[in-house]
Amino acid sequence: MTSTPRRLSRREELRLGTAGARRTARNTLIAYAFLLPFLIMLLAFHTWPVIFGTYLAFTEYNIINPPKWVGLENFRELFADEQFWSGLRNSLTYILVVPVIQVISILVALLVNRPLKGIGFFRTAYYVPVVTSFAVVGLIWTWMYQQDGAVNAVLSALGLYKGGSLLNNPSTALYAVMFVTLWKGIGYYMVLYLAGLQSISPELEEAAVIDGASRAQVFWNITLPGLRPTILVCSLMSTISAIKVFEEIYVMTQGGPAGSTYTALFYTFSRAFGDFRYGLAAAGGIVIAVISILFGILNFKLTKGGKADG
């Protein structure tokens, strides 16, 4: 390959040129052939819903008849609907779960990051709720929350609560469902934080210890700043999924009792698949999306863009 290049004749140059061009064209074709199946599915089931859903928000649509343009009518109806507002309030209350889940997952990640014997078992044990279907998790916790069930037994033993099922009580139901989200989510965020912890250089922590830093000092000054990028990712993900919480509620309470667990996404779901008002539901979807984006930006600001150096 290193022989001295010979000057090519004009004819040779032309021939090679077209062959080269043909080859790149063929290459491009092959590349797109590899991409095509994925792109088709992506466009059909990820992009199209965003485009068509946005359009539907400005229409009256019930699948049977073609969409009828109604302008901002859906949004007007949405904002006049007390049910939507109460759903939105519940969705925003649900965000309370985010800081709790972050703090606990970080602590659990620190705990399972220790080189203890049998730590693999514990990591797995904490991850089991994550890999279980919401259908199963929701059912199990409905049983746990029964009046004579395990949760009430523990709470009454601690002298905290005496009464019926927390899921049947309008003032506790939302928090009871939030606890299930927490319970199911900790293992997931634990793994992410574990990855974050392992990306912090151990030399830094060791050097601080040698310099006489206490455990707490190491945690606040080295570990926590090092975790900042992970904290951004995790709180972003959990905030967005808290605003859009659905499956737990669908399985456990169906929005009840007395609408106390009725969230914004549950509202759009009932409008679409209960009342066949797809346009109104799509408008609700847009409002939820805008709120998620706003919270995403807020999150980004609060964690200073997740930069490790603050």
Partner: protein, 320 residues
């Protein structure tokens, strides 16, 4: 804790001729070490106590479901540590006692997982190749477009995908065998293009040396052959991780299936069927519990077998 190698060993030469002063130092050091070891032991004990408490909180609900599903009678929802009786009656019940045969739900879930995992892994594994190892116009544009798609809000996803699936005629009823196949497809389709999977696999391909691919090209191998014979084997750990992630996702999905399939449909997957069951079995919750146990077992088996890959796959997803 390892000493940095560049430090001189403390008291290397002095070891031979120890003065009383040095002995006192050595005693002090040993004392400190013992105290540190004691503290570490105590710390470990505390850590284990915490670890066990958390494990009980995460595992007890499953354990309770298991033991209660084995009981025939008794106070059903009561918290307990051991079953009052053991029988498989509820497990028999769940297979025989409904209009929706439980074995059919299992078969449906297995078919849906096979179809979903195979197709989504294939799609991502194919698409990741040109994006990581080929030069062609539009490559970066496509890559960043896909990146952007990931952050686009998709709240109307369920609604529009339902419309799309209906318009594609996948839910029409014409012929029982074809209907079943079409419905499996309908359940699987919205999740087939996994952006996370594409990224994971692109990442794995990027670490394959370009020389290997060039060598194969010089040997006259076509791109499809290179993909199949060079890239796929080398990306196997990532493919395994992604396949497990997809298996868990497909096995656990219920909402989409419940939306598109009519109630009592014969193609319901297990998770969705379980909810249907809990509606039907209002008199026998223990049978539903048995169903829940059966639904969890395959996930636990797959998860435990592939746990190593699974965690790696997740970590890779954050580290990017």
């Amino acid at each position: 804790m390892a000493e940095p190698a560049t430090l001189p060993a403390p008291g290397g030469a002095a070891e031979a001729s120890a003065t009383p002063d040095m002995l006192a130092h050595a005693r002090l050091a040993a004392d400190l070490k013992a105290r540190r070891a004691r503290r570490a032991r105590l710390g470990n004990l505390g850590a284990y106590a915490l670890l066990i408490v958390i494990a009980m909180i995460t595992l007890y609900p499953f354990y309770w479901t298991l033991i209660t599903s084995l009981e025939e009678t008794g106070n059903i929802y009561q918290a307990k540590l051991l079953p009052s009786s053991v029988s498989l009656k509820n497990y028999v019940e769940v297979f025989t006692g409904t209009t929706l045969p439980f074995w059919r739900l299992i078969l449906n879930s297995v078919a849906i997982c096979l179809l979903g995992v195979t197709l989504s892994v294939t799609l991502a594994a194919l698409a990741a190749y040109p994006l990581s190892k080929m030069q062609f116009p539009g490559r970066n544009l496509i890559f960043y477009a896909i990146l952007t798609l990931m952050v686009l809000p998709n709240e109307s996803g369920l609604i529009v995908n339902y419309v799309t699936t209906t318009k594609l005629g996948l839910l029409k009823e014409i012929n029982p065998v074809l209907d079943t196949l079409r419905q499996y497809f309908a359940i699987v389709m919205p999740g087939l293009a996994s952006i996370v999977g594409l990224f994971l696999l692109r990442q794995a391909y990027l670490s394959v040396p370009q020389e290997l691919i060039e060598a194969a090209r010089i040997d006259g191998a076509g791109e499809l052959t290179i993909w199949r014979r060079v890239l796929l084997p080398l990306a196997m750990p990532t493919i395994a991780a992604f396949a497990i992630l997809e298996f868990v996702a497909y096995w656990n999905s219920f909402l989409w299936a419940r939306i598109i399939l009519p109630p009592g449909s014969q193609t319901l997957p297990l998770s969705a069927g379980l909810l249907e069951l809990s509606g039907m079995f209002s008199t026998n919750s223990r049978a539903v519990m048995a169903g829940a146990v059966i639904t969890i077992i395959p996930i636990l088996v797959v998860f435990l077998l592939g746990q190593k890959y699974f965690m790696k796959g997740l970590e890779g997803a954050v580290k990017g």
